[in-house]
Amino acid sequence: MSALLQVDGISRRFGGIRAVDGAAFDVEAGSITGLIGPNGAGKTTAFNVISGFLRPQSGTITFDGNRIERQPAHMIARAGLVRTFQIPRVLTRMSVLENVQLAATRQPGEVLGAALIAPRAVSRREREVRDEAMQILDLVRLSRLANDYAGTLSGGQRKLLELARALMTGPRMILLDEPMAGVAPTLALQLLEHILERRARRGTTFLVIEHDMEAIMAISDRVIVMDEGRVIAIGSAADVQQDERVIEAYLGRREAQPA
């Protein structure tokens, strides 16, 4: 396997705070990689930088052989790298199905000329998109709610809808920001199953921020641990669980220094 994503020395400051401070790691193609760390470690900022929502102040990011650290989010998404948000961003006044349909790429009907010249091709593609969207909604158990307004979904259901929209773009790699937070325990296992299934069927690569340690340790091939903006450990779940630097990041130093 080779690295699909290479993050090399990225930094991002906010005022005097170094949210991400020279973080570096690789993500193997086809892997499920966990990104963990205590509150304020810089995980979400790292996601924002990788996905083009923030520019890094230094460092490089290579996705599928191309440098992307100066590209805007929509270009990065078009290249096949998409992300979800910790707080789901759904279009509340559109139906669940429409939310997913919108995420599809290659929609000729979006171009007025194509809609006039080749209406059949447009409607064919629209049917394809609709079918695929329904399949994905089936997968995340939301097809029953396909015609409801997205605004009526619960927090957990919105998370699933976000995942569905990310899947709909047919990406090579998905960054998931706390996919389990706010998701009911019964749905949580299903969500993890979708991730494993998608990876098995389509070879999709996942980088996942998650505070549920049991889940992230079980699903990840490799775990990256951040603390104070830096990567402090990379390895298997068992490796990082025994790493003294990781234990220190989560539980503090062993002894208080004499005051």
Binding site: P38, N39, P185, A188, L189, L192, E193, L196, E197, R199, A200, H211, D212, M213, E214, A215, I216, M217, A218, I219, A237, V240, Q241, V246, I247, Y250, L251, G252, R253, R254, E255, A256, Q257, P258, A259
Partner: protein, 261 residues
């Protein structure tokens, strides 16, 4: 868990939460008189919610919180408002020392002294013995203090009510490591003067090493309890933070094997 000394705060099977979601699902703990008790646990385990339920910032839906005052009288705290809890002898230092930024150091302390109307000066003198540095900046606006100084002011403001029990929510939050040591040292010396301490901390190991007893919460329930020393060396505590294998983990690993073949 065996406790020497009288119990001053006794929490029994408290259920509490926000809106229609329970965060604590029946949590119990004891604070023995004159001891330091730590509450630790991973993010979202309910530590801060527990402190709020004890101090009256949040009313438990079930369970009881009993307090035994210096005269030996017992009080049921559930249903009381924070100022009433403070009058009985328990005070609270919120996370990130919520001092009043536009008030001076002296005014902040004066607010904390509401229980001793007219006797502010004698209590100010007493507290400044523990916090001599604050004495040199009494007229400074709290907003101009460093994070560490603000934390000290927050603790001093709680201490000025002369509490029997001091509750602290993550006193080390946002402070540089050297300042954390100073804050922990101050808490130790407050305890040495006879005040019982109940504190929630992220820096679990440093906190346990100065605590007589500790409770580990996980997902709103009591998970492990013991002396600070026992918990400090209990591998289960680390597992709770860094992922122990339960039913969900087993199920995911089974799925992983299925999808590989």
């Amino acid at each position: 868990m065996s406790t020497d000394g009288e119990v001053v705060v006794s929490v029994r099977s408290v259920v509490a939460g926000y809106a229609d979601e329970d965060v604590l699902h029946g949590v119990s703990l004891n604070v023995p008189s004159g001891k330091v008790v730590a509450v630790i646990g991973p993010n979202g385990s309910g530590k801060s919610t527990l402190l709020k339920a004890i101090y009256g910032l949040l009313h438990p839906r079930q369970g009881s919180v009993m307090f035994r005052d210096r005269s030996g009288a017992t009080h049921e705290l559930t249903g009381l408002r924070p100022h009433a809890v403070t009058r009985l002898g328990i005070n609270f230092v919120p996370q990130l020392a919520n001092v009043f930024p536009d008030l001076s150091v002296r005014e902040n302390l004066e607010v904390g002294a509401f229980v001793h109307a007219g006797r502010f000066h004698e209590h100010l003198e007493r507290v400044l013995l523990t916090f001599p540095a604050l004495g040199t900046m009494l007229s400074a606006r709290a907003a101009t203090l460093s994070g560490g100084q603000r934390q000290m002011l927050g603790i001093a403001r709680a201490l000025i009510s002369d509490p029997q029990v001091l509750i602290l929510d993550e006193p080390s939050a946002g402070l540089a490591p050297s300042v954390v040591d100073t804050v922990f040292g101050t808490i130790k010396s407050i305890n040495a003067s006879g005040v019982s301490i109940l504190m929630v901390e992220q820096k679990a190991r440093q906190c346990l090493s100065m605590s007589d007893y500790g409770y580990v919460l996980d997902m709103g329930e009591n998970r492990i309890a013991g002396t600070g020393e026992q918990l400090l060396h209990d591998p289960e505590v680390i597992q709770l933070y860094l992922g122990n294998r339960g039913r969900l983990g087993e199920a995911v690993l089974r799925l992983r094997r299925e999808f590989v073949t």
